[in-house]
């Protein structure tokens, strides 16, 4: 038995001599929660700004309440991301800790020329995380850090929780670095990233609002789509938990809640050359607001609303699809589904897929089921006329 314990003892003393490499005292860390990248004046340089949480010695858990100095922003201008962090570490007393980073924000002009060169660091190096979310901001990205946020500790956490809540309803608002790079790797599939705008007048408490999506061809941003087309995009993409649409028709106004949108895409070939795409959109909708439509009885009201909704969906969807066809950018994964199910066919379509996509004829047939009309059964109108 003696021998075993000499072995254990030596195992221990060998560790003593060795010292600890990776130990980082916790109060020497600067917790980074957001990174913003913008184009700087000098050619080929980028100014990278980093925001982190300011910690203050406090007895027990009570937080010091004044939010003015709750955030710390560090700025540098360098050629590459890794140099930026090296530079920051050099000039700041605490070492930057990237594991808790939540968001990477890109300025519009950076997104316009090349996004991929900035993402390489987040995927390759060990101490940064690849599932941080991505955002595009109109104008310069570091304005986001200037917003003073009442509720959260700093603006990036505000943004992060904001995206988390809206992405619970519509999946496509949330796109991480890894998703973006995965899309880059798939041929003929381009990604779409939500775009935000910082609210200039700082009297109301909504410092930032979402203005739609930025459309990318591989790693270059080529266009922006507004909120209206965003609904069309979401309808075509499918797999959405809940979104809404208000339609004003000749008889009155009705606003629908689309609860569960599923789209099926079917490509019609002619001697294995895709010419037409049939998109069926299954939606379970529910009426949330109903004004007017006095002259309809209960029975044919249902039919009328069905027509209105289906018509609206066809218009919006075809309009968005046409818009993307002009841009020659397939964001709906049609090429991907061909590649996945008929790899042979995809081989000869591969090189000029963008033109084929642009020349596709589209036919949308929505299947809308209006589930519930809310708690009111009849149509009432303010005049009290039955």
């Amino acid at each position: 038995m003696k021998k075993i314990f000499i072995l254990v003892f030596l195992l221990l003393c060998s560790l003593f001599l060795v010292g600890c490499w990776d130990a980082r005292e916790i109060n020497t860390l600067f917790i980074v929660t957001g990174i913003a990248i913008d184009k700087s004046e000098q050619e080929g340089f980028f100014d990278v700004s980093v925001i982190g949480i300011k910690t203050s010695p406090s007895r027990g858990g009570s937080q010091s309440s004044d939010d003015k100095d709750k955030k710390i922003v560090l700025k540098t201008t360098t050629r590459s991301i890794r140099d930026a962090f090296f530079h920051l570490n050099l000039n700041y007393d605490r070492t930057l800790y990237l594991q808790h980073n939540q968001i990477v924000i890109f300025g519009e002009d950076v997104a316009k020329d090349d996004l991929h060169r900035h993402l390489e660091f987040f995927v390759r190096s060990e101490n940064s995380r690849m599932e941080t979310l991505m955002l595009i901001v109109e104008g310069r990205a570091d304005e986001v850090f200037k917003m003073d946020v009442k509720q959260e500790q700093n603006s990036t956490i505000y943004l992060f929780t904001h995206i988390q809540t809206i992405s619970r309803r519509v999946k496509h608002y949330k796109i991480s670095v890894l998703n973006f790079i995965a899309n880059l790797l798939t041929e003929g599939f381009h990604s779409v990233i939500p775009i935000f705008a910082v609210n200039k007048n700082d009297d109301d408490d909504m410092p930032i609002n979402m203005t739609g999506f930025a459309v990318f061809r591989n790693n270059k941003m080529i266009a922006k789509i507004t909120d209206l087309e965003a609904l069309g995009f979401v309808l075509l993409k499918g797999d959405v938990k809940n979104t809404n649409r208000t339609i004003i028709s000749y008889d009155g106004m009705v606003s629908f809640d689309f609860d569960d949108i599923k789209t099926k895409k079917e490509i019609i070939y002619k001697d294995n050359y895709p010419i037409k795409i049939k998109i069926t959109i299954e939606i379970t909708a529910s009426v949330e607001e109903l004004l007017g439509f006095e002259k309809y009885s209960i029975q044919d009201l249902n039919r009328e609303l069905h027509n209105i909704v289906q018509q609206e969906i066809i218009n919006v969807a075809t309009q968005t699809f046409k818009y993307f066809q002009e841009l020659k950018v397939d964001v709906f994964g049609i090429g991907l589904s061909i590649y996945q199910h008929h790899p042979k066919k995809w081989n000869n379509l591969r090189n000029d897929w963008d033109n084929i996509f642009a020349s596709l004829e589209v036919e949308i047939n929505p299947k809308v089921v209006i589930k519930d009309y809310g708690q009111i059964v009849s149509i009432y109108n303010p005049g009290g006329v039955k």
Binding site: I4, L7, V8, L11, S14, L15, V18, W21, D22, Q99, V123, E126, N127, R129, M130, E131, Q164, L178, I181, A182, L185, T186, L336, S337, Y339, Q340, H341, H342, P343, K344, W346
Partner: protein, 368 residues
């Protein structure tokens, strides 16, 4: 003259086989950048092709009941030629152990301790495994059942946690790559996780099981291990999709994507720690087998005293011989299949043929 007279039960033998394959489930980086999304298909084909050799191993164990691989070689090829072949096998076992040690240190370096120097991790691993090997086979395989439950719990739990990120579409397209890639994929799989079961030919004499049980336990162990390997690869592909081929350790990235509530994120270290325990178990078995071959070649009575010196050689060689991880995976993809498969499957098959033709049996067989 079996060295270790400790007998372990058949079930523990099966559990250590399962554990052995599950431990190498994390190293699926070899086939990832050859057969990108179809690696899960390759795993199925590789196992189907591996089944006959499982029964070949079973037959070899049953023919030479209480003789391990090295003794069989010496008995068939005579002391001089037998010893030369056993030295080749010794080099083969040494390189497998070094292979796995470099993998273990790579994982710990990437996921947990990026700046600790290489030699510390290797030494800690060697010391623990040396202690386990010195205390005998029973201590080595006693926890195999616990490790198996731990590993399968991890696989199932990670699939549940990753449910919202899994895309079934990522598993397609099927059969879109040239045939050559599939053959290479199957060849590699038969060398790395499955072929390494040849190691159990040396442990088999210390296991109490009759003829029928050998086949049953060996096949059951191999199939459950292969199934969990298949599940891991399936999970990684469906989560990572196109980027499956990009990473050195795809499972590590898959674990990173787990995001349940706001608090339970970035918990990939808890999963990795358990896989590290499995890898240490695998290395301790390989280490035990290397020490047994050394003591068999020089027919020593007790193998306890050479454990640490073999460990010293392993430690320093593991550091020197392994360059960076890319060169390491390249060597595994192209070099290993040719060399190892011959030693793992083809050579034992020749042994079986010779022993059938010349009707050589282990002496105890005739006396019974």
């Amino acid at each position: 003259m079996t060295i270790a007279e400790t007998k372990i039960s058949g079930r523990q033998f099966m559990y250590s086989i399962i554990c052995f394959i599950q431990a190498s489930a994390i190293l699926n980086a070899f086939i990832s950048n050859i057969t990108y999304q179809e690696s899960w298909l390759v795993v199925i084909f590789a196992f189907i092709i591996f089944i006959p050799s499982v029964f070949m191993y079973g037959a070899l164990i049953n023919r030479f009941k209480d003789k391990n691989l090295i003794q069989i070689i010496i008995q068939i090829f005579g002391p001089v030629l037998g010893r030369i072949i056993s030295v080749i096998y010794l080099i083969f076992f040494l390189s497998i152990t070094m292979f796995n040690i470099t993998d273990l240190t790579d994982i710990t370096k990437t996921s947990m301790l990026p700046t600790t120097p290489y030699i510390i991790l290797v030494m800690m691993c060697i010391l623990i495994t040396a202690w386990a090997v010195r205390s005998g086979l029973r201590v080595l395989t006693i926890y195999s059942k616990m490790y198996v439950f731990l590993a399968s719990f991890i696989i199932i739990l990670s699939i549940i946690f990753l449910f919202n990120v899994i895309e079934i579409g990522n598993l397609f397209p099927i059969f879109s790559l040239p045939l050559k890639k599939y053959v290479q994929g199957i060849h590699i799989l038969n060398a790395i996780p499955f072929g390494e079961l040849v190691v159990f030919l040396l442990i088999a004499p210390n296991v109490q099981m009759n003829k029928k049980q050998t086949y049953k336990y060996f096949f059951l162990g191999a199939s459950i291990g292969a199934f969990s390997f298949f599940l891991t690869v399936l999970r990684d592909i469906s989560v990572l999709g196109e980027t499956f081929g990009m990473f050195v350790f795809p499972s590590l990235v898959a674990f990173r994507l787990i995001r349940i509530t706001e608090a339970i994120t970035r918990i990939e270290i808890l999963f990795i720690v358990i896989l590290i325990i499995l890898l240490i178990f695998k290395i301790s078995i390989l280490y035990y087998v290397t020490v047994i071959t050394v003591s068999q070649i020089f027919n020593l009575k007790k193998y306890k005293n050479i454990v640490l010196s073999v460990g010293f050689f392993l430690m320093t060689a593991a550091i020197v011989l392994s360059a960076n991880s890319i060169q390491h995976t390249l060597a595994a993809q192209n070099g290993a299949p040719f060399i190892w498969v011959t030693l793992q499957i083809i050579f034992p098959f020749i042994l079986l043929l010779i022993s059938l033709i010349f009707n050589i049996k282990s002496p105890k067989e005739e006396s019974k």
